[in-house]
């Protein structure tokens, strides 16, 4: 039997506001425990939440960027449960009336366009953190993270494979980064993802029993966990068994999922409208103001790169997948206006140096201007493409510009005909057999002669000129 995979994702994005969602405390990561807290963070008696307007505005931006309908009247609700990292005994979230609903994003998997629906976007507060010490009979609570604003983005069950899930996540991630409303750091937990996944026989309309996957803290882990879960569920179904509806934790070390049984089961959160917060009323003017602040988004940029710069679709996709990478490209383009050559270099040499992590480009030592200068040197024949690669590696390591490195190391290409001709003659004289063979028709030996020349000149010889000189001399 063939199965179809059905996946829905819930993404929690920490919004990078300066202060928390309901008080003035800082959201900075990594402060000493419980220093970014006040009586509100601590859930003291009598304190009241006051909404940070920026959180609403950031959520509106995301809603607009993902084609959602903004609810002009939305409100906060309390999600009630007991846990020591939740000081009030309830989380302020949104339930019946979230800030936005009914949106979509487009993804691209193996050259196929696909539209993934977004069910809803809502605002909520983060919880604190428990720190367990195995050697002591108690646990510690750090409430610095309590009240850090979160945006939850819930997809429709439109995703049909782990690859699509990964593409969808990357699209949300890129959009958040383009909007500059979330730093998207999965390891620090500022971008988190839970997945609902089920299988159904192809052709069947009804969904199969789903499991919920948690604890996947990188794009790679999300894809691997989903792949694992597809196999696990398929094996169960093929054996005639039944999938149990449960929450599973991904174990990235063992590459398996484990049941969370008992911990999270059958919670009744008793949602009700939070009486401490008045409904949020969003006027059209406000929406328009937010729309006007939207930057160019990944899809728009991709289309522009294709249409205005004439880049192939693949290049445009890679260049725009991260805001930092696209910004870098556009800045370098100002200094080196040959889009395709620049794109090639960035997708190969630069991407290799930043280990395939496009957003890491923001901390790389080579400025876009310096990259432009390097490529210009190749075009002018100052250095060869091959030398340029070693120069680039050194630029990445030291931050020096290409010109300095080339000069310091004497890497300027030898393009002086007289100078090269002497060496060419020397090489031919030293290799009479090969010269004879070449004249006899073994033109492949050109490689050998140019190689000799490169060796003698430490690669600095202008390869085009070298070819010309050898064919002239050997054909005499």
């Amino acid at each position: 039997m063939e199965f179809e995979t059905v996946i829905g994702l819930e993404v929690h994005a920490q919004l990078k506001t300066k202060s928390k969602i309901f008080c003035g405390c800082s959201t900075a990561f990594g402060a000493p425990p419980n220093t970014n807290t006040c009586e509100l963070c601590l859930g003291m008696p009598g304190v009241l939440p006051v909404l940070n307007k920026k959180v609403v505005e950031y959520s509106m931006k995301m809603a607009l960027a993902t084609n959602c309908r903004i609810n002009k009247m939305n409100r906060f609700a309390r999600k009630n449960y007991f846990y020591p990292d939740l000081p009030k005994g309830y989380q302020i979230s949104q339930f019946e009336l979230p800030i936005a609903e009914h949106g979509w994003v487009d993804i691209n998997v193996e050259e196929q366009h696909k539209r993934i629906g977004i069910t809803r976007i809502h605002m909520e507060e983060d919880a604190g953190k428990l720190i367990h010490d195995e050697h002591e009979p108690y646990s510690y609570v750090d409430l610095n993270r309590t009240g850090v604003p979160l945006m939850e983005i819930v997809s429709e069950p439109d995703i049909r494979s782990p690859e699509e899930a990964s593409a969808y996540l990357k699209k949300l991630h890129a959009t958040l980064r383009y909007l500059d409303i979330c730093d998207g750091n999965m390891e620090e937990g500022s971008f988190r993802c839970d997945a609902n996944i089920s299988l159904r026989p192809i052709g069947q309309e009804e969904f199969g029993t789903r499991t919920e996957l948690k604890n996947m803290n990188s794009f790679r882990n999300v894809q691997r966990a989903l792949e694992y879960e597809v196999r696990r569920q398929r094996d169960i179904l093929l054996d005639g068994g039944e999938v149990v509806q449960e929450t599973l934790l991904w174990d990235a070390n063992k590459n398996i999922t484990n049941s969370m049984r008992g911990k999270e089961e059958a919670h009744d959160y008793r949602y009700f409208p939070d009486p401490d917060l008045i409904p949020i009323v969003i006027y059209d003017d406000w929406i328009e103001d937010m729309r006007n602040t939207l930057p160019e988004l990944p899809d728009q940029k991709r289309v522009r790169f294709e249409e205005e710069l004439g880049l192939p679709g693949y290049d445009a996709e890679v260049l725009t997948a991260s805001r930092e990478f696209a910004d870098y490209f556009e800045e370098a383009l100002k200094h080196y206006p040959q889009a395709k050559k620049l794109s090639n270099w960035m997708m190969t040499e630069l991407m290799r140096e930043i280990k395939g992590e496009p957003s890491a480009v923001q901390s790389c030592l080579v400025t876009p201007e310096n990259l432009g200068a390097l490529l210009t040197m190749i075009d002018k024949g100052t250095i060869s493409g091959k030398i340029a690669k070693t120069v680039f590696t050194e630029m990445m390591e030291t931050g020096k510009d290409a010109d300095t490195i080339v000069k310091d190391k004497g890497l300027v290409q030898m393009s002086d005909e007289g100078e090269l001709l002497d060496i060419v003659k020397e090489i031919i004289a030293a290799n009479p057999e090969q010269a004879a063979d070449f004249k006899g028709g073994k033109t492949k030996l050109m490689g050998f002669f140019v190689g000799q020349l490169m060796q003698k000149t430490k690669g600095k010889a202008n390869p085009k000129l070298a070819n010309e000189l050898f064919s002239k001399e050997l054909n005499k």
Partner: protein, 486 residues
């Protein structure tokens, strides 16, 4: 001079003329507490040193001609309002050791006006109750007869004012908790419009119903306190941005043209004959003073108690979740697991009535029951609010008894929660609708217990309440004003 027996305005005049000092007045009040509180049991915490220090500061301000209306005036504060550095128990064991690191906004306003806080007064645990018998520490007695309840939940506030253990007090009202004890103790109490006074630092019972208000010896004092505590607070999203009028100016207005609505639903079966008589006597006096009366109807009034006992416990069940033994207050760590710690802490830390309401509220919000209970109650609440809107098209002020009966003996209803809940029937609707209500003394029962009259007005029409109440007070001129022989 018996300074503790004075009203705010009487004491203020003497203080401003420097005929007495704030320290004198505070000493007198503290002496009074020392001499009568063994009987009255109004105070959970009295801080002599802090009070005298505040008084000294007030005297400095008064000396230099500064200091507001309340400067140097000794007040008591219901133990549900957070006071920085002074323990705030909410009448509960679970907060026995809780000392807030912040002041409630109203407390801050009192401090800035130079008022002196003599102590924190008893109340039903987390303001849940109608008699203050649910206080974990002490049961405040009715100063007119200490065998009788003082009312609740602001029983300590009303008793301390009536027994001259303070000049005035702040209480809170979620379903009548200012008006009802004021009525039982023969003093004046006002529940302002929801949003008129900041709730920041008021330990929440039911957030959409709670409101802070004054309990005073006369109507003039009520206006004075309202001037100080009212106003928008950026720390409370439900407080309303609206100018605060000078409530004292409303005192000098007459009743000519004022329409008083008499709701037929309020004069119900079970209404005590003496209460009814005293209330109608009050109405006659208002008519003589120039007011007109008009019969009105509040058709959904029958549902008030049911709606209230869904919404208030539902909100409470969530508001009280924070008392879990983790961060502050009482913790029972005898168990082995986190779950046991929660269970033991909350089982031992909360009293029966609080637990009863947490269970009711949890049930009302449970999935599968939410629509039938909490949501339905919220919808009926809207209808109740609309009843009032329609009524105020016909009248300015609605008049009624505050409670169906005068105070009853301590212990009489404590094992009968339902009849206790029904005693709130005439005060609850103001909280559900968010409108202001006021209780003013209008007579005595044959047993010598005070009877109160309730006025309610449309949102933010507190001035009309003050005008009406002041006219009644002036024309009625009740005697004695306060219990004798204490």
């Amino acid at each position: 001079m018996e300074l503790h027996k004075l009203t705010i305005h009487e004491l203020r005049d003497l203080l401003k003329k420097r005929e007495v000092s704030a320290v004198d007045a505070t000493r007198k009040v503290l002496e009074r507490i020392d001499s009568v509180d063994d009987t009255i049991q109004a105070f959970i915490t009295v801080d002599h040193n802090k009070a005298l220090k505040q008084a000294e500061e007030a005297d400095k301000l008064l000396q230099s001609g500064e200091g507001g209306e309340l400067c140097g005036v000794p007040l008591s504060i219901k133990d549900v309002l957070c006071t920085k550095g002074i323990r705030t128990t909410c009448g509960s064991r679970i907060l026995e050791t809780f000392v807030p690191p912040y002041d409630a906004t109203v407390v801050d306003k009192l401090n800035k006006s130079g008022a002196v806080t003599v102590g924190k007064v008893a109340m039903d645990e987390f303001a849940m109750g109608s008699t203050s018998e649910n206080c974990a520490y002490r049961i405040p007695k009715n100063p007119w007869n200490p065998e009788y309840i003082s009312g609740g939940s602001s029983g300590g506030s009303a008793a301390s004012v009536a027994a001259d253990e303070c000049i005035a007090s702040l209480g809170t009202d979620t379903g009548g908790s200012i008006r009802q004890p004021a009525s039982h103790c023969g003093v004046v109490g006002m529940k302002p419009t929801y949003g008129r006074v900041s709730r920041y630092g008021l330990v929440a019972f039911a957030s959409s119903l709670d409101q802070i208000g004054p309990i005073t010896k006369d109507v003039r004092d009520c206006a004075l306190l309202m001037n100080v505590i009212s106003g928008y607070d950026p720390k409370d999203s439900t407080s309303v941005k609206r100018d605060v009028p000078d409530y004292s100016a409303a005192l000098s207005k007459g009743l000519k043209g004022l329409k008083i609505g008499i709701p037929k639903e309020y004069f119900i079966q079970g209404l005590d004959a003496e209460v009814e008589k005293a209330v109608f006597n009050g109405i006659d006096i208002l008519k003589e003073a120039g007011a007109e009366t008009v019969e009105i109807s509040l058709p959904h009034n029958d549902y008030c108690v049911a709606v209230y006992y869904m919404i208030a416990p539902a909100e409470a069940s969530s508001n009280l979740a924070r008392y879990d033994g983790v961060k502050y207050g009482y913790r029972d760590s005898s168990g082995e697991s986190l779950q046991e710690m929660y269970r033991n802490t909350r089982s031992k830390g909360f009293g029966d009535e609080v637990k009863r309401r947490i269970v009711i509220g949890t049930y009302a919000l449970s999935s599968g029951y939410y629509d039938a209970y909490y949501k339905k109650a919220s919808q009926v609440r809207t209808l109740i609010t609309e009843d009032f809107s329609k009524a105020y098209e016909k009248c300015d002020v609605i008049v009624s008894p505050v409670t169906p009966t005068p105070a009853w003996p301590i212990g009489e209803k404590i094992d009968d929660p339902l009849s206790m809940y029904l005693s709130d029937i005439l005060t609850i609707s103001a909280n559900l609708a968010g409108i202001p209500g006021m209780s003013v003394p209008c007579g005595f029962s044959s047993k010598g217990l005070p009877i109160g009259l309730q006025f309610q007005a449309a949102h933010f029409q507190e001035e009309k309440l003050i005008t009406t109440a002041f006219n009644l007070e002036q024309h009625l001129d009740l005697s004695p004003k306060r219990p004798e022989g204490l």
